[in-house]
Amino acid sequence: MQTKHAILALRGLTYREAVKFFHQKSRLLSAFVRPALWLFVFAAGVGSVTGVDPGLNHPYPIQNVNYFEYIVPGLIGMVLLFSGMQSSLSMVYDREMGVMRLLLTAPLPRWYLLTAKLLSGTFLSVIQAYVFLIICVPIINLIVNFSTPIIGWLYILPATILFGMMLGALGLLISVYIKQLENFAGTMNFVIFPMFFISSALYPLWRLKDNGAEFVWWIANINPFTYGVELVRWASLGQIYIPGLIVTLLCTIVFLTFATIGYDPQKGMAKKGKGKPS
């Protein structure tokens, strides 16, 4: 594989994803409105004046963190999660519409095509996350002061990219096993909601244990989404959350590897005799 060819293919995929994304005004709007609603409505309703206690292991300089501030990393995760699943949906749509064949018959290694697809999707995910941050955080800052410095939102860039890649790779893996668009809604419910709610996105995990929900606490602790959120949270305060870095990196590699196997005609679904003669 020539580098020039690889770059051209990545550019082509990113351009296509971007054109389609900016053409779909409702998708663009919902990418911003969804987390904004959580921030302005949910946080306003749930947050208390005394703030939230993030527990023993946290990057904040104070023990009582403002709830608006606490859920911002989780909402970044939400943007990335929806965007990652949207890329997965676009893979399923492309398969139904036949465009996928064009991608899979390109003279490039399958792993590279999927990685390029992942990178192009992540590029859009990160843009959406920053649109949310740039619009919402200054508004919130008019009402409450964050301990997160402005530069902290720049520090989170590598963490957001890695987190976005992990969720995008999960989306690619899911798209291997979804054969029809109609099946997608169910999968969204089984992936998006549990991943988001059973994590540290909306509340510190110690509360689960404190409330006796030990089993949910245990699930939240093995949920890779929790590690992505914490990676972003710690990065926003200029710190590296090592377990988060390891888990998101490993999960990205594992999800992408299995997706590549799934899309390989010699090892994946086709090998199992799926499809129809004609």
Binding site: R16, M97, T105, L108, S278
Partner: protein
């Protein structure tokens, strides 16, 4: 020695207990235009999916310009231009955006793309629709765009899987004439899958596929003569019934 651009050796593929392809072997030389003729369910699309690397066969080999699809798929795919049965254009993009996407995937740089895209679109009389959304084109125009797209990377082998499905008679004739012109002018190998016998009449070779097996490979004239019929259509009916 003849330069075999497509060489298929003992290809077999099953779907559970259904044998979609059974020991399929044939080869096509430079400048040869062959029709893969078979009734619905004969295994034509399965064969095309294996030829394009979308499916892997259980047994046998596919060599494209001497590159093995199993061990060297990337080099093999670089020599294939393909028009699938289903339209594979992105309806939300313009004609030029669709073609650019393809050329990017094939590593064609911008300068070369600009040159080739004008040439290919002029050949199919669609250069005036370059900035139009694909969604706004007719079925025949979409097919011509797909054909232009499949030629952008200058393949040696052109695969067409029932490309006239859903087209009116004039568009069918235009497509067929253009493919014959390609074969003559560019010395391309063309494999055109169809269940419509009249589309096979102008080809150099007719390959009859039935129930996953090649039951005949010869010129249309020889097949008609061998079965003592007046038309290729009648000979095909005798062969497959």
């Amino acid at each position: 020695m003849e330069n075999k651009i497509l060489n298929i050796q003992s290809l077999s593929k099953s779907y559970g207990s259904i044998k979609a392809l059974n020991e399929v072997s044939f080869s096509l030389a430079e400048g040869e235009y062959a029709s893969l003729l078979g009734p619905n369910g004969a295994g034509k699309t399965t064969l095309f999916q294996i030829l394009t690397g979308l499916f892997a066969s259980e047994k046998g080999n596919v060599l494209i310009n001497n590159f093995d699809m199993r061990s060297n798929a990337i080099d093999a795919l670089a020599h294939i231009g393909v028009v699938f049965q289903q339209i594979t254009l992105d309806m939300d993009l313009t004609v030029i955006e669709n073609l650019k996407f393809h050329s990017n995937l094939h590593g064609i740089n911008d300068k070369e793309f600009k040159k080739r895209v004008i040439e290919e679109l002029e050949q199919v009389n669609l250069s005036d629709r370059i900035n139009d959304k694909v969604r706004s084109l007719s079925g025949g125009q979409k097919r011509r765009i797909e054909l232009a797209r499949s030629l952008l990377h200058k393949p040696k082998l052109l695969l067409l899987d029932e490309p006239t499905v859903g087209l009116d008679p004039q568009s069918r004739r235009d497509l067929l004439d253009y493919v014959i012109k390609l074969k003559e002018e560019r010395k391309m190998v063309v494999l055109w899958a169809t269940h419509l016998v009249d589309e096979a009449e102008k080809s150099d070779t007719v390959i009859v596929l039935n129930k996953g097996k090649i039951i005949k490979k010869d010129t249309p004239q020889n097949i008609t003569k061998e079965y003592n019929k007046d038309t290729l259509h009648d000979a095909f009916v005798s062969l497959t019934s």
